[in-house]
Symmetry: C2
Subunit: 258 residues, 2 copies
DNA sequence: TTGTCATTCTAACGATTATTAGAGTGCTGG
DNA sequence: CCAGCACTCTAATAATCGTTAGAATGACAA
């Protein structure tokens, strides 16, 4: 075996990781999974994609050993194979943002407008949060908060924030965060909070960026599992459409081909 | 513009970086370029590939903004767009090595057999090198040594090592390094040195790994440019085959299609 | 057992990508 | 100017990938 074929073999293997991160949908799956383990159905919903397509992408991620799964009842629950995978995603995003001018412009205009960003750094933010001079709000779904969150943060999912506005103080600065620089949830929260007269800003960082920077995280006592989220969501869907869609689809699937 | 299409746009951009690193040849180009800037011809030779194919891959890397180029006389010289690109390559390789069992086995058997590796860590190695208790040898081509090398290292390219054996002391441990964990040059050097009775070992790390770990590097005063390497190599090739190949190829290219 | 639900597998398509050949561009020395 | 060299562009092929539909699996509940 000569030197060339050994090299080909080695680079070939690394390129499996490269291929796995060469699709936008798979990158988004990695971002979602770096917030905590999830069922296929939850992932499909959060990806706004078909379950079949989601499953197919998860398969290629699995073949590249970037994700692993386990069964729990009728559900299949995926999670990242290791913290290094979330770190790789952060690294990829940073390189993209540093080198692709299009991305810089898009991020600035869509999600990270200077007006919205908190002007203080991470270390200072934590110090202020410790002294209760700011309120750090995690607007992600509760399951993701439970899996891991920033120290001193309180969970206030975007879906509930409108009803729970009274829990927030008007005299303190509120700093929101969500899944990371590409997530729009903290922006929506900001719009809502500012409309109601709160002093609110956001940070771009999510738990992955926090972890990649070597900063500490906290996690809730286990209790809520990804299955509960999935069950709740599917119930909600069924009650919304009265269970009709599912049956219609089922019938449609068994119709002859015209 | 809704939230979904914004996200699609953002992930799409990052996937451009992913696509760029999804081919083994392009990964190898990144590794080669992280040793210093090089001409297309040099890259093609070190990649054992056609100049045309090399140029095509460099083009896609250029479109992903991972490399930039400049002209120097008749030569086009490529280099990485930034240090973060070399860091990304190191990160990718680490994730691959951590998660792909096939790669672990291959690396252990081919390039990083425990017998060959130096048992001391990087920090200690530098301390010993400073006190001249070990000799750190850079076996890469001289141009790459000039671009950046480990502190206290001396350049002894693999091609010249046989003639220059007498420069090395028999009583000290010799520690070789090359382009990184996938490079076979330090292994070849080791085999040669041990056959001649030297106490020699290697480290897996190259300058990129060194830099990614936050350790300092040194570089030679500018003088040797990548063009000189290219000129030297092409002269060598011409003298080896008496200038025949090039002319034959040239004629063949202009032959009618039979 | 049968039915239901969550998920995966198989097969197929259209769209990309890798690779190669041939022609073309830009630089340099005569 | 021309010839020679380094490299890139264009076009064409074969291979691979993303996506979808339909069938199949595996777990559970009646």
């Amino acid at each position: 075996m000569d030197s060339r074929s050994i090299k080909d073999l080695l680079y070939e293997q690394v390129s499996r990781i490269g291929k796995a991160v060469s699709s936008p949908k798979r990158l988004e799956l990695i971002e979602l999974l770096s917030q905590g383990e999830k069922t296929v159905e939850t992932l499909a919903r959060q990806l706004s994609a078909d379950v079949k397509l989601t499953s197919a992408h998860l398969r290629t991620l699995k073949e590249a050993r970037l994700v692993v799964f386990r069964r729990e009842g009728p559900y299949v629950i995926y999670r990242l194979a290791g913290d290094d995978v979330a770190g790789l995603w952060v690294n990829l995003r940073q390189v993209a943002e540093a080198n692709l001018a299009e991305l810089q412009v898009a991020v600035q205009r869509m999600v990270a407008h200077p007006d919205k960003l908190s002007r203080i750094g991470c270390a200072e933010l934590m110090a202020k949060a410790r002294r209760q001079e700011v309120v750090v709000v995690d607007v992600r779904p509760a399951e993701e908060f439970d899996a891991a969150h920033l120290p001193f943060a309180r969970s206030m999912p975007l879906a509930e924030i409108r009803k729970r506005l009274s829990e927030l103080p008007k005299d303190l600065e509120i700093v929101a965060y969500c899944r990371g620089p590409f997530c729009l949830m903290s922006d929506e929260a900001l719009t809502l909070l500012r409309k109601h007269g709160y002093r609110a800003s956001k940070i771009r960082e999510g738990v992955s960026e926090w972890q990649a920077a070597g900063l500490p995280l906290e996690q809730a006592a286990p209790g809520r599992s990804p299955v509960k989220e999935a069950v709740a969501a599917s119930k909600q869907q069924r009650s919304r459409n009265g269970g009709a869609t599912r049956r219609l689809e089922s019938v449609a699937n068994h119709m002859p081909k015209s």
